[in-house]
């Protein structure tokens, strides 16, 4: 692609990645969640792939594959974490540990450190979506000829 596209992509790709992370991290408070944030973050990979061509992202194939496996396994493990009560029971909410602050009753501005296993599940789904869509994009970029026009 042209130098304009390359420069804009170099500036914009980290910003898109950070926004995807924000959408995943605030999934239990604001609109969005694992899938939406993962799709936004994967669009940064797509931007880099379109702007710089397949060789720029070729070595990301194995990390994306590992990331997808990690997300799936983490989601299942988080589901089994509540097995003392039921499958997928929210055993971390209100326990004071990670994401475990009890929410005071009444309207609030949205406390990030709440909701128990839900943010962790959002991260698991987000990692899986980033890994899956990223692997698809990288493999699609690698197949066939790649003449940069």
């Amino acid at each position: 692609m042209s130098v304009v596209v390359r420069t804009i992509a170099r500036i914009l790709a980290p910003v898109i990645l950070v926004f995807g992370g924000y959408v995943i991290l605030h999934g239990h408070l604001t609109p969005g969640g694992g899938f939406q944030g993962g799709a936004v973050a994967a669009s940064a990979v797509a931007l880099v792939l379109v702007a710089f061509g397949a060789p720029a992202v070729k070595r990301l194939k194995a990390p994306f594959s590992v990331l997808e496996d990690l997300g799936g396994v983490a989601f299942v493990v988080l589901g089994f974490l509540g097995l003392g009560f039921t499958f997928f029971a929210n055993s971390l909410a209100g326990m004071g540990s990670l994401f475990g602050t009890p929410v005071p009753p009444g309207p609030n501005p949205g406390y990030l450190n709440t909701a128990g296993t839900l943010p962790l599940m959002n991260w698991a789904v987000g990692l899986k979506v980033i890994g899956g869509l990223g692997t698809v994009l990288v493999l699609f970029g690698l197949v066939g000829r790649d003449d940069d026009r």
Binding site: G33, S43, A46, L47, F140, G144, D147
Partner: protein, 83 residues
């Protein structure tokens, strides 16, 4: 008729125009750009209908990812549609 209804009708008309352009254009890159613009307007319509969750998913998948995949496919094949 409020201003929001007029805005939504305008957006829907523009979505139809973008879709027709995507079918009608012979330059496939321009066609993909029209499809991406149509998808982005659809995500704006979802936001106006108070479904911001769906709007983010549509903007991420419909407008960004499919456009990128189509651009890659055009780069690997040919740009002009054959008659």
């Amino acid at each position: 008729m409020t201003i929001w209804a007029v805005l939504q009708i305008l957006i829907l008309i523009l979505i139809v125009v973008g879709s027709v352009l995507a079918v009608w254009l012979k330059d496939l890159l321009a066609s993909v750009i029209a499809l991406g613009g149509s998808s982005l307007l659809l995500s704006l319509e979802f936001y106006l209908l108070q479904a911001p969750d769906v709007a983010i998913a549509e903007a991420g998948v419909g407008a960004a990812l499919t456009t990128a995949i189509f651009v890659l496919a055009i780069r690997k094949t040919q740009r002009k549609e054959e008659e």
